[in-house]
């Protein structure tokens, strides 16, 4: 303890170099965001005329009002919110049910089923996407919210993460419930679920970001403006407004706000949440 105190007080050139390197990395990480924000408020003339300037001479916020009327941006936003939030709620529930069963309940074929579920993580989406599209089509759910949501209602990664989380909880909790004669369902809902908060926040943010940011899947599952989520919409309108940098960048920035907010809100749970779920 003493020696660490001493080391911190004395000048340490190694530590200084490390901090400088970390700062350089931080600046280059954040630079594209600053550039996006500043370019989104530049006029067309400035973008073409003086690309070397980071900050605009005149601030022009017109794209921020134009984007809502020129394209149905609000609609895309709502679509993405409905899609991502529904998936988060349903998937957390189903994944935690399955994760609890794999961690704590005894049943035949448990090990085999768990390995099978883990194996599905290795299947590239490209292998299943065409038949998946056909199934949703046959169910008449192309271009609907339920068609977007239901296939995502459970996933291997979530089940794996919840199982690891339940494994870390002490067994006496449920044993006391069992001695009191509570059913497995009551034990799950009344004893286990309230303990899941850090795991739920972490996994919930992962699921939210995964679905909000996904491109290929919503492109396949929707074909009208009415249900198209925002990433698919952006990829499509970027082609149309390709050279109108400030307009496209405004769209990109606005589309990243919900995930940025979700992360900033959840980040204090993140490291402990991941440590607890034992991905390590």
């Amino acid at each position: 303890m003493d020696s660490t105190m001493n080391r911190r007080k004395s000048f340490d050139p190694g530590r200084l170099i490390i901090i400088l390197l970390l700062m350089a990395l931080a600046v280059s990480t954040i630079f594209p965001f600053i550039w996006m924000a500043s370019t989104s408020v530049k006029s067309m003339g400035e973008i073409l005329g003086s690309p070397q300037r980071l900050l605009p001479v005149h601030y022009d916020f017109s794209t921020y009002t134009k984007i809502w009327s020129e394209v149905p941006f609000g609609r895309y936003f709502v679509n993405s919110l409905v899609f991502s939030c529904s998936v988060v709620i349903i998937a957390l529930f189903l994944n935690s049910l399955a994760g609890y069963a794999f961690a704590r309940l005894q049943f035949k074929g448990r090990g085999l089923l768990f390995v099978l579920i883990l194996c599905t993580m290795m299947i590239p989406f490209q292998v299943t996407m065409t038949p998946l599209f056909l199934i949703i089509y046959k169910l008449g759910m192309i271009d609907t919210y339920q068609g977007l949501i239901i296939p995502r209602a459970a996933d291997a990664f979530g089940i794996f993460m919840m199982r690891q989380f339940f494994l870390t909880l002490p067994r006496d909790l449920e044993e006391s419930g069992r001695i009191d004669g509570a059913s497995e369902f009551r034990i799950f809902f009344q004893i286990m679920l309230p303990l899941c908060k850090p795991a739920f926040v972490t996994l919930g943010v992962f699921i939210f970001m995964g679905n909000w940011n996904d491109l290929l899947y919503p492109l396949l599952m929707t074909n009208s403006e009415q249900f198209r989520p925002i990433q698919a919409a952006i990829a499509l309108f970027a082609g149309k407004y390709g050279t109108d940098y400030s307009f496209v960048l405004t769209g990109l920035l606005l589309a990243s706000i919900p995930t940025l907010v979700a992360y900033l809100f959840a980040q204090r749970f993140f490291v402990s949440g991941i440590a607890m779920t034992g991905i390590k």
Binding site: L105, Q106, T120, F125, V127, F185, F188, T259, V271, I279
Partner: protein
């Protein structure tokens, strides 16, 4: 008899718990997978009519296609660039910012920002920054009198640029997982090493790395699996060009299945990718187990 019933009851509860997830995954993952496996042995038209058994002809068509081998080569190039760079960077950063301090929390938050945004957004923004005519990076380099390259249209630089985008976007995620692992390394180990007079690098190689080795193995495997499926950043920036120099396997699959409408070869090449990923993962796991035994 009573015991059997009881055991069945217990099992039944377990099955009820996993049933909803199992149904979802069966209908939307397993059934599509089987459908793909079977339909790759047939020829059919875009409307999925006129199924005809043709054996492995779809696979032959893919394996005889130089473009497939080119895309495989590009994918391997991407994996070999992206995985080591990303893992090395995130190990170094995670170790450097492991101690809890206000500054380190700021660093952690900043490094994680690109992870939060979609690959579409990050790749589009960076491609615009590097635009030969109106991007800020070439403009600044011109001002400094440096030679300027049109990176996404240059056969040599396009792939390194895509690798750079990928490292930028994802190293924060690997870093967070490693940070979580570092939390589990007992402080007493470092204190003991310090008493023994161990230097910083000795501690890094003798304590830190071995302690988080399982997590490193985990991120290496997941990052290899993910890298073999690279698509979004290619699709948004180069669409496989220039001269097919950045066409990856998934980009090839996408072209076959949805652009030229060769569904059969498209599905067959997707399954070949799946098999490739399975083999690489198996080798990885085996190597990991061997390394563990040697400790």
């Amino acid at each position: 008899m009573k015991w059997k019933a009881l055991a069945w009851n217990k099992s039944a509860v377990g099955y009820l718990f996993i049933l909803p997830s199992l149904v979802v995954m069966t209908v939307f993952v397993i059934v599509p997978l089987l459908f793909s496996l079977i339909s790759s042995l047939f020829s059919f038209d875009i409307m999925l009519h006129n199924f005809k058994f043709i054996g492995f002809d779809n696979y032959h068509a893919v394996l005889d296609d130089d473009r497939f081998w080119n895309s495989l080569k590009n994918t391997v190039y991407f994996v070999c660039g992206n995985v080591p760079l990303q893992i090395a960077l995130s190990i170094l950063v995670a170790v450097a910012i492991n101690k809890r301090s206000r500054l380190n929390i700021v660093f952690r938050t900043v490094y994680f920002l690109p992870v939060v945004c979609s690959m579409t957004i990050v790749a589009m923004a960076i491609a615009m920054m590097f635009d030969f005519n109106i991007g800020i990076v070439p403009a600044l380099m011109r001002q400094l009198g440096l030679p300027v390259v049109d990176v996404f249209n240059d056969t040599r630089w396009a792939m390194p640029a895509i690798i750079l985008i990928s490292v930028y976007k994802s190293f924060g995620f690997t870093m967070i997982i490693l940070l979580a692992a570092l939390q589990g390394v007992p402080e007493s180990l470092y204190e003991a090493a310090e008493i023994d007079g161990a230097g910083r690098s000795a501690m890094f190689f003798r304590i830190t790395l071995p302690s988080i080795a399982p997590s490193i193995a985990f991120v290496v495997i997941t990052s290899i699996i993910g890298s073999f499926q690279v698509f979004d950043q290619v699709y948004v920036t180069t669409k496989g060009g220039p001269m097919f120099k950045t066409e990856t396997i998934v980009q090839y699959i996408y072209e076959k299945a949805f652009v030229t409408n060769e569904m059969g070869p498209g599905i067959a090449s997707a399954i070949l990718l799946f098999i490739l990923i399975l083999i690489v993962t198996m080798i990885n796991l085996r190597m990991g187990r061997k390394a563990e035994q040697n400790f």
